[in-house]
């Protein structure tokens, strides 16, 4: 995986690439039903950062991530993700931005009738990779999350923690420079949660920019990465 990822990072991030990979300026989001999800958010994430976003449920953490991968559009403000503006892209150009963003969800979103291998290679199929390239990338990704021995299992045969690790493998198999994890530990016990965080840290060490939302204070205390808090749609910095 390291080798595959380094290929990409030298290609994707030449010397003159801007240090800031994600930037939000005075971003607000009001949903059509009138609920104010985010108010005047300013955030700058540098290439290779690891950032925790914390806050109670319903505070707007997920909305923030959705703005980054173009699922929602801001009511106000500017967003830049890897030199593109997700709120201005549509169709195929948005798809191409999404290929540079890996996403991990609380509910894993694995396809139930496909094996671990199929779930992971499905992403590469969907992005138009060749069979040969898929075979080359699959093993490193499985090894990274420690599931080589479960490659032919179906999702329901795996524990929650294992399923989440599959979804991480799926998110990174296309070697995106950015990884967004929305409550990745929300359904997991402390041991499994810590294992997931450890994998995310490892990915961060090979140069992937990682943003994790969580409401689990203990996880944040156990690591030394920057933390921002969102409360009632407003952002404040907790730890640099």
């Amino acid at each position: 995986m390291t080798q595959v990822l380094e290929d990409r990072s030298t290609r994707r991030a030449p010397q003159d690439a801007p240090q800031t990979i994600i930037q939000l300026q005075q971003v607000s989001k009001v949903y059509p039903n009138g609920s104010q999800a985010l108010i005047d958010i300013n955030l700058e994430v540098k290439r290779g950062d690891f950032l925790f976003i914390t806050g109670p449920s319903g505070s707007g953490k997920s909305t923030l991530l959705k703005l980054l991968y173009g699922e929602e559009r801001p009511s106000q403000g500017e967003i830049v993700v890897d030199r593109d503006a997700p709120d201005r892209l549509r169709g195929d150009r948005l798809s191409h931005l999404r290929r540079r963003i890996g996403i991990v969800f609380q509910d894993y979103k694995l396809l139930p009738r496909r094996t671990v291998t199929e779930n992971i290679s499905f992403v590469l199929w969907a992005q138009g990779y060749t069979r040969k390239e898929i075979a080359r990338r699959l093993q490193p990704a499985l090894k990274m999350v420690g599931l080589t021995h479960k490659s032919d299992c179906f999702p329901e045969e795996l524990s929650g923690g294992e399923q989440q690790r599959v979804s991480i493998a799926r998110a990174i198999v296309g070697t995106p420079p950015i990884l967004l994890a929305d409550e990745p530990t929300g359904n997991l016990d402390p041991d499994n949660s810590w294992q997931v965080i450890k994998i995310l840290k490892k990915l961060n060490q090979i140069g992937i920019t990682v943003i994790v939302t969580t409401h689990d204070e203990s996880l944040i205390r156990l690591s030394n990465h920057p933390v921002v808090q969102i409360r009632d749609g407003r952002m404040s910095s907790v730890r640099y």
Binding site: G91, S95, R100, K109, F122, V123, G128, R170, G174
Partner: protein
């Protein structure tokens, strides 16, 4: 040298990419068909039945049209002029009538030549001499704008100076023709309705299949698959339904 290798590798990349697409499309379409189960059969049998009805409609309308053609054109009126009156002199007058769509003048010389040819007589001059001149008269082929104006037009043409006789398809035949026309338009309407139904049914079936696989589609969208990449396999599935439905209609009903 470097450039040539570059071009070759570029070309190879394009070919490669094409095969990757084909590979993906076939695999996804087959997978979709295998997973579809009973929904496939629902779609295929619906297409079969609809194509059957569609075929009946089309055949009826064809048969009616054939019948119609047997009576010839009901719009045409043949005007035979008096001896010595040229087609060219009357043509502008007739062309000015409001009911007239088109006028074609046939001089007696042309008609004579054609007759001679049809009768297989070789020497035109010889025959003419024997008959002491051309026995035919000039003729105007007048096309009316619509069939119900034909009788009025015929009367008007007959009252013109220099017109010997007027001939047109008689009214009874015309009535049958009108009936046929009505039937044709009815069968066309039915055919159109059935086509719309077929489209709606296939559309709904594909939609059902899409609904059943919406999780997959959601994941595909999130990992950056383009929409054409996502929907092409579904489209191919639809084409397969149509194709298999058409084949089985042929097998079941053509006998």
């Amino acid at each position: 040298m470097l450039k040539i290798t570059e071009i070759i590798s570029n070309q190879r990349f394009k070919v490669f990419r094409f095969f990757t697409k084909l590979d993906y499309l076939l695999q996804e379409t087959l997978l979709g068909l295998r997973r579809g189960g009973w929904m496939n059969w629902a779609a295929i049998s619906t297409v079969t039945v609809l194509l059957f009805l569609f075929g009946i409609g089309l055949q009826t309308s064809w048969q009616l049209e054939g019948l119609l053609n047997q009576f010839g054109s009901q719009l045409e009126v043949s005007v035979y002029l008096e001896t010595g009156v040229g087609a060219e002199t009357l043509k502008p007058v007739v062309e000015k009538m409001p009911e007239v769509a088109r006028v074609q003048g046939i001089t007696k010389e042309a008609a004579w030549a054609r007759l001679i040819k049809e009768l297989n007589l070789s020497d035109l001059k010889d025959v003419t001499r024997q008959l002491e001149g051309n026995p035919l008269v000039d003729e105007l082929k007048v096309k009316a704008k619509s069939s119900d104006q034909v009788p009025v037009l015929a009367k008007k043409l007959k009252s013109l100076g220099g017109v010997e006789d007027v001939q047109y398809v008689d009214e009874a035949v015309q009535r049958i023709a009108q009936l046929n026309q009505g039937l044709t338009s009815v069968s066309m309407m039915i055919t159109g309705l059935l086509t719309l139904t077929a489209i709606a049914v296939i559309n709904t079936t594909i939609r059902l299949i899409v609904m059943a696989r919406r999780r997959e589609i959601e994941v595909m969208q999130l990992v950056g698959a383009t929409s054409s990449w996502i929907y092409f396999p579904f489209l191919l599935q639809g084409v397969t339904f149509g194709g298999v439905g058409a084949r089985s209609r042929g097998v079941r009903f053509r006998v």
